[in-house]
């Protein structure tokens, strides 16, 4: 653990490890001494400070807010010693370390006012702390939600609707990854510099993290649990597929059948969802009201069963197609892409037609982002208010 010192370079606060601070101070003092008598001394010093600050900024990111001692040394080595130009008459060049260092590299503990304003937010994938490709992580940062909620939403979408996975893959391809510190800052809308660190420290942001009794152990436990679950799921899936493959033969028509099956399954799912929503909101399914002695939960259960009966064989048939078309295991992804491309295209055409011919739908879709934002806000206030 190292002590951290906050300094001000060219108007921005940086946090340095103590050893790094000493090195920087010595460097700037030497520079000031070498430039003794130079009429532009102050200007050169402030230029140098600005350049050092720029190099520090390139090292920092939203998750890394302190410049390490080694990094300071590397930056100073990159800067090189200050060489007073040859034609200059230098008086008192042995000024010694007594001269004051760069005017604004002022003392310990100086704190910059909270920047607060933030920067425009953009959607990126964030790799740090990601589970797969960082899509949920990035979405969480974008919506200012805990990424766990976003992951949960994707998982639910996949289980009940089958599209979560597809949306995920499309986003993993389309959404850029946050690579540079600037992009990482834009992903969460937070300034990446030390100002943010200070602001969070002021808000007691890090206090909550200390409350966790044994973070390392709990993380290790989580990691192991996840690995076991994954292994089980893979084993189960494998057994299932090989069972099916033994009982079926490959047919060339499968390449065409597969997307149709996917589409059909999607349609069944949408119909089921609509039925469920209408049941829960109006107590009737597609205009047919329930008999008086049947409770709503029983009707919902029946809907679930009906969906299972309809969608189960479709799912099984799709899996069969996958297993037989993608015979060497690695061609699976191609089959998947073909399937996805065809049924997505058909769905997109249908969607376009629907939007084109029903203006109400267009209005509803246009209001979607606002609705999503409101929902995210509600969840956030609920989360904070616990």
């Amino acid at each position: 653990m190292n002590k951290v010192i906050t300094i001000n370079l060219g108007g921005t606060a940086y946090q340095l490890e103590e050893g790094g601070y000493d090195a920087l101070r010595a460097y700037l003092e030497a520079a000031a001494a070498r430039l003794q008598g130079n009429p532009d001394r102050d200007e050169i010093l402030s230029d140098i400070e600005g350049a050092i600050g720029e190099k520090f900024r390139a090292l920092l990111a939203s998750y890394k807010t302190v410049v390490a001692e080694k990094e300071v040394a590397a930056v100073l080595a990159e800067m090189g010693p200050i060489e007073a130009d040859t034609g200059e008459a230098r008086t008192g060049n042995a000024g010694g370390p007594g001269t004051s260092a760069g005017a604004s590299a002022s003392g310990t503990g100086e704190k910059q006012a909270a920047g607060g304003a933030g920067i425009p937010r953009r959607l990126y994938r964030i790799h740090e702390g990601a589970m797969i490709a960082g899509v949920c992580n990035g979405l969480g940062a974008y919506l200012n939600l805990d990424p766990t909620f976003v992951r949960l939403a994707f998982v639910l979408l996949t289980i009940f609707w089958g599209t979560g996975l597809l949306v995920y893959i499309v986003m993993a391809i389309v959404v850029p990854e946050a690579r540079s510190p600037e992009e990482k800052a834009a992903a969460s809308g937070n300034p990446s510099t030390a100002q943010e660190f200070i602001r969070r420290a002021k808000e007691g942001y890090y206090e909550a993290m200390k409350g966790f009794p044994d973070r390392v152990a709990s993380r290790e436990w989580k990691r192991r649990f996840k690995r076991d679950v994954r292994a089980h799921a893979n084993q189960w899936r494998y057994n299932w597929h090989s069972y099916w493959a033994k009982h079926a033969s490959t047919h060339p028509g499968m390449g065409f059948t597969l997307p149709m099956l996917s589409l059909l399954q999607g349609a069944v799912t949408i119909a089921w969802m609509c039925a469920l929503i209408s049941l829960l909101s109006t107590g009737a399914v597609f205009g047919m009201s329930l008999p008086a002695n049947v409770p709503v939960w029983a009707a919902a259960l029946l809907l679930f069963i009906a969906y299972g009966i309809l969608a189960g064989p479709l799912k099984a048939a799709r899996r069969l197609c996958y297993w037989n078309l993608g015979r060497p295991r690695w061609t699976w992804s191609f089959v998947f892409l073909l399937d996805a491309a065809v049924w997505l295209t058909v769905a997109a055409v249908l969607f376009w037609l629907a939007v084109h011919f029903f203006p109400e739908l267009r209005v509803a879709i246009q209001s979607l982002p606002a609705v999503a934002h409101d929902a995210a806000d509600d969840i956030r206030t609920w989360w904070k208010g616990r």
Binding site: G10, G11, T12, A31, L35, N38, P39, D40, E43, I44, D47, I48, G50, A51, G53, E54, R57, E78, M79, G80, P81, I82, E83, A84, D85, T86, G87, E88, E182
Partner: protein, 108 residues
């Protein structure tokens, strides 16, 4: 003493000439200049370049303007003054002469 060491003083003297040439081509800031020089024998560091630039500005060869950067504080972008342009022209001419002399001398 290697050739590299023998020429260190000459390289140092030529640096100003090269900076004039780089600035003449485009508006640049310090990192640009360093980058262009880094691939050559004249690779240098901020510690050398900042004092040199300020000296050249004082002599009226260069001028600079502040420009906003996309990330971080504004930067100084250097441009050549009329005097700097004149100096560059003279230096190029002189450099040509020296080159010719180096090639010609000792040949019969």
């Amino acid at each position: 003493m290697s050739v590299n060491e023998k020429f260190s003083a000459i390289r140092k003297g030529l640096l100003e000439f090269l900076v004039l040439q780089i600035v003449a081509a485009d508006k640049v800031y310090v990192a640009d200049i360093l980058k262009q020089l880094s691939a050559t024998e004249f690779a240098t560091q901020e510690g050398t370049l900042y004092p040199l630039l300020s000296k050249m500005r004082r002599e009226g060869l260069l001028d600079y303007e502040w420009k906003e950067s996309e990330n971080g504080p504004p930067r100084k972008y250097y441009t050549l003054t009329a005097k700097g342009r004149e100096q560059l022209r003279e230096t190029l001419e002189y450099w040509g002469q020296i080159n010719g002399t180096v090639k010609k001398l000792g040949q019969k």
